[in-house]
Symmetry: none
Subunit: 235 residues, 2 copies
């Protein structure tokens, strides 16, 4: 009975015990957990306390509870929540992501300043990259990021995930994104770098990415015959 005293609430400790149990005993999704009353006996707790633990585990998606039947290990969501980065998406398809920097310049924010919540005259980096999957050009992506946030990014390796560079070099972890999708026709310039050989409909993705404040704005054009963007969302 590990619940005699201590500063950590009993229901909280019970939660961790249940999580550990599921892992340790190698329980599978759908397996039934002990009943509420069984937990009461085993740990000398009241039913309300046990219920608080189970209720929170249910909210966290770790278990599911069915009235009259019992509590069961939840089926973990098969796919990742939210939008994946380009690197993640390509790897998920079993392909190798490649990136080529097409353009890199430092210039005043101009109209992007509004999105990034900085002055129009403050400097930003504008980085345009061609992204490929196992050699096939998939998208052209332009990123606008305030220069103050990423000093010395010139020296960083931008042939991989910008996400990773921000996190490892600057401790910036994107937590929230506002992304909009539309369809446009390719311009001659895009056709050239994407090797399209003609006019094609392209998927345009505009995305403002936040940490505690806006970090960078991104505009990408995907040749969506080759590559669909998928998002998984819970409500």
């Amino acid at each position: 009975m590990p619940f005699k005293k201590g500063p950590i609430p009993a229901y909280f400790r019970l939660k961790q015990i249940i999580i550990d149990d599921i892992k340790k005993k190698g329980m599978n999704p759908g397996d039934m957990l002990p009943s509420e009353r069984e937990y009461c006996e085993r740990f000398g707790l009241s039913r309300m306390t046990v219920r608080q633990a189970l209720k929170e585990l249910e909210h966290e998606g770790i278990i599911v509870r069915e009235r009259g039947r019992g509590s069961f290990v939840a089926i973990p969501p098969i796919e990742q929540e939210g939008i994946m980065s380009f690197t993640e998406m390509v790897r998920a398809k079993g392909l190798e992501p490649e990136t080529e920097v097409l353009e890199f310049q430092k210039r005043p924010a101009g109209p992007w300043g509004e999105f990034l919540e900085i002055g129009e005259k403050e400097e930003i980096y504008e980085i345009t990259r061609l992204r490929k999957a196992s050699g096939v050009p998939i998208a052209v992506e332009t990123v606008f990021i305030p220069a103050l946030l990423v000093p010395g990014i010139e020296a960083a390796d931008l042939s991989g995930s910008l996400f990773t560079v921000l996190q490892e070099r600057y401790g910036i972890e994107i937590k929230r994104s506002k992304t909009s999708f539309s369809a446009v026709l390719s311009t001659p310039e895009m056709e050239k770098v994407l090797m399209l050989g003609g006019t094609w409909p392209l998927l345009r993705v505009e995305s403002l990415n936040f940490y505690t404040k806006p970090i960078y704005y991104e505009i990408s054009h995907y040749r969506s015959d080759q590559f669909k963007i998928t998002v998984n969302i819970s409500r």
Copy 2:
């Protein structure tokens, strides 16, 4: 005291009363709600019952609770998480959503059976609707839904939100969606119903919507010059 009897749980009714109160009294974000013990007295309920109501409201993001201080009206998130339904998106832009049913048929699931996790020979409804915003055609949408899940949907009003019909008529609340985006060129058929007058790039949205299991599959084509689809995502 509206809590003497009835099939609807007291905590649930209290939740609705509190929500109504917030609206009716025009309370602003940050305003303090009555204390737990005040609710107990006012409605003759035990504190645990009141707490269950408040806890759920907190989970739903309607109130925030601070230990030692009280409960307060939450600051509503500026933008809704996830993808909004067509109806929600149009209203958010201050336009009036309209829907016209173009086609309605019952037929075997065929290849859609795989997505919907039913047999190929089981019956589904295939519903095609034209969706407009303040009179302007915006999208053509086709929904595939197992007939067993929505018996008698022929009689329902499909000129509004399918989301609402599922919830109110069948108790089905979509909890998770897997959505993919791509760009395509319009077909003559689409050009006709969307009144495009020529070939245009369209935003194609395919979406599988889940409750506890897959509920319906949806394919929409948006004229994205008029209408961008935006998603807000936390990681």
